[in-house]
Structure formats: C-alpha cells, structure tokens
Symmetry: C2
Subunit: 202 residues, 2 copies
Amino acid sequence: MSLRVLLADDEHLIRGALAALLALEDDLVVVAEAATGPEALAMALAHRPDVAVLDLQMPGADGVSVATSLRDELPGCRVMIVTSHGRPGHLKRALAMGVRAFVPKTVSAQRLAELIRSVHAGNRYVDPELAADAISAGDSPLTEREAEVLELAADGAPVAEIAERASLSQGTVRNYLSSAAIKIGAENRHAAVRLARERGWV
Amino acid sequence: MSLRVLLADDEHLIRGALAALLALEDDLVVVAEAATGPEALAMALAHRPDVAVLDLQMPGADGVSVATSLRDELPGCRVMIVTSHGRPGHLKRALAMGVRAFVPKTVSAQRLAELIRSVHAGNRYVDPELAADAISAGDSPLTEREAEVLELAADGAPVAEIAERASLSQGTVRNYLSSAAIKIGAENRHAAVRLARERGWV
DNA sequence: CTGCCCTTATGACAAATGTCAGAAGCGGAC
DNA sequence: GTCCGCTTCTGACATTTGTCATAAGGGCAG
C-alpha cells in the first residue's frame, strides 16, 4: 500500500517537477496537485491524501490557512509546509496549527521524500536553521493592541487613518505606536514595522 | 549535437527537479548547476553553455547582475530569467541587459523546454502578463536623485540619516522626498516607497 | 545664447508625529 | 480586597516631516 501525497504550489514548473521526482520513489504516489489555497483544500477533501505538501505562499489562501482548515476537516491528513522564505512568525503560526514539518526549498528531492515518509510515520521536523531563527527572535514584547495598530501602520498610512480603521482616538494610536517602537528599539514606527516583520511579531 | 544548458537557482529542490525534467528532453543536456550568483558565473565560464537559465533571486548576486556579467564575458551564451515574483522593474532592467527571455515559474517544464530551444534559435520571449504589468506601470516619473533618496528611505530611516548617507542637506532630502511622494501620489514617503516598489521604480 | 530641467541649497511655516504625564475602567493574580 | 497591567483617553510639548518660495550653478536642446 503506497503513501498518498497531495502537492500544492502555485508554480507549475516546480509542482510538475516535484511530482515527477516523487513519482520515482516507488512507495509514494502523488494523488492530487493544486495551484491555489482553495484548490488545495478541495483536492484534499476529494482525494484524502495521507500527507499534504503545501507551499507557504499561494494565491487565495496561504499554506498555513489551508493547514488550519485541513486540521478541522481532514484530521487524518498530515501537513507539511515547504517554503522559500521562512519567517519566524510563519513557523510559529504553522506549528500552532498542527503542521508536522516546516522545510525550506533548499533541501533535495531525496531528502523531501524521506521527510514525507517520516512525517507519515508520525514524526515532526523543523529545519534547524529556521528553528534557530525563530528561537533567537524570541517572543513578541508587544501587547495585542500594539501589534494590531502596528500592523495597520504597515502600509505607511497616516495616524488619522489608522485611528479610524482601529476605532481608536488619534492620541491612543500615537501612544501605542510610540510604545511599540520603544519596545522594539526602533527610531520610528516605520522602522518598527520592518523589524517586527522580520522577527515574525506581526 | 545537443543543446547545453546551465541551471542556476538557490532552491535545491527546484533545481534538481528541473534538471531531472529537462534531462527527459533528448536534445537538452544540463551541463552545470549553481546555487548562487557568483557560482553561476563561474560555472558558465567553465562549461560554456548555449543557454543559461537563471533564477531572479539568488544569494550573492541576482539573476540580472549575472546576466550583465555574462553578456560581457560570454557573449555567445543566451540568457533566460525564470522567476516567481516578477516586478516590472526587474523585467525592464533584464531586457536592457540583453536577457532573451523572462518567464514566470508558473509555466510547465514542457513549455520551458520549448522556450529554451526557441531562445537558442535566436528568438526572444516575455511572459504576456508580466509585459502587460510593465507597460501599465509605465516609466518612472522620478528623477535619478529622487529615486536614490527614496530608496534610502526604504527602511524607515529618519531624514537626518538619509541626508548623511546621501551626502545631502536635510532640507534637500525633504524636498526630494516631498516631490517624489507628490509625483507618485502617495500621502507620505513611506507609502511612496511601497508604491514605487510595487511599480518597479526602485 | 536662451530656455528648461536637474541638482542642490536655505528659510519659513504648517501639519504630522513622538513623547510624557496623568487618569479612568476593567480584569486577573495574590 | 488590593495591586498590577492592559486599554483607552486627554492635553501639552518638542521634534520631525511635508510644503512652498526662492535661488544659484550646470548641462543640454533648439
């Protein structure tokens, strides 16, 4: 009985190539492919794979969202996230959502196949480098509201707009932004946004 | 006589998979692989491929830089850029550097093989969608200095720091940032940076 | 040669932002 | 029950930005 795999990646080139390589392993069979988040979900429900290999960035819904839905709707399916740019925040979020493995695309296909088997056997795996990043980034020092307001500041909106969107007074928004920037150690809110992003705090 | 190809991509998974798929085409042979910009350059000089397939984002030097060097040092080699996230600016820069094709990773391996042959035969190719983006984004309305200063503002640095790094007076920096923001139609420099990025102007 | 645009700069003013002190309500911890 | 931290607000102030007018020098096109 072979191991049924779902592949989801928006890059046709990579998905196809990957499918071809995994097909060389005779205990693995790719039963479905998807190019978008929603499609991945639908495919998973239709084909009930043993392991879902999801790209982190896909149109529609990212890998972590799909993992969340999958956990509820198809609990027997083990989920792996494969990514090119792994931010600590994504890792943390993914792990919280029950994702079993988080691997960078720099691994070889051989290794990926091993990891798929390992995950299917019930093991977990996180790329050591990504794990180190996540640990060194530490926990967010921001309160819930500080993080929320900082996020609204991300696209360079002026305080007035942030205040409106957050239903807060402008003074309050300025206080939050100020304290967030101080906690992060940034010169101003824009640098704070950038640093918080890098550390996976937003 | 088969067509010699160089593959450069920092993602081992993809590079390996791609190499395997291209090997299935009996008129193509992958003579070298590279994971970084400088490595790609060295490999190209050592193996003198007919076509170089470069990823846009690689550690060390991006695909366009490599293409620039290759044009000088190995003029007979046709260069193709393959990318996941194609920004209009990259396309323009790449074309100016003599790149023969600019394709998104959403194409199939089959199609990529066709394009490699086509490029080798002397044709050019640009993904229609990317081309449309580039055209609709239009030309940058920014002067050289405006763009330069805007770039220095990208990480949220205060005016004083930008002024120092650009060796300009603070007043001049504020003038440039102001006019750049006005030309772009942004509320402030931070939003301007974001929009300019999206449109490939920085 | 005369415009015109780019570069660089000043000074001045208005507006936005950052910082601080203080205060009130609310919920959880001890 | 009291204390502490989070949320929310106001008001005041200093600092930073954004905007505008104005100007001088350089380069290029007509």
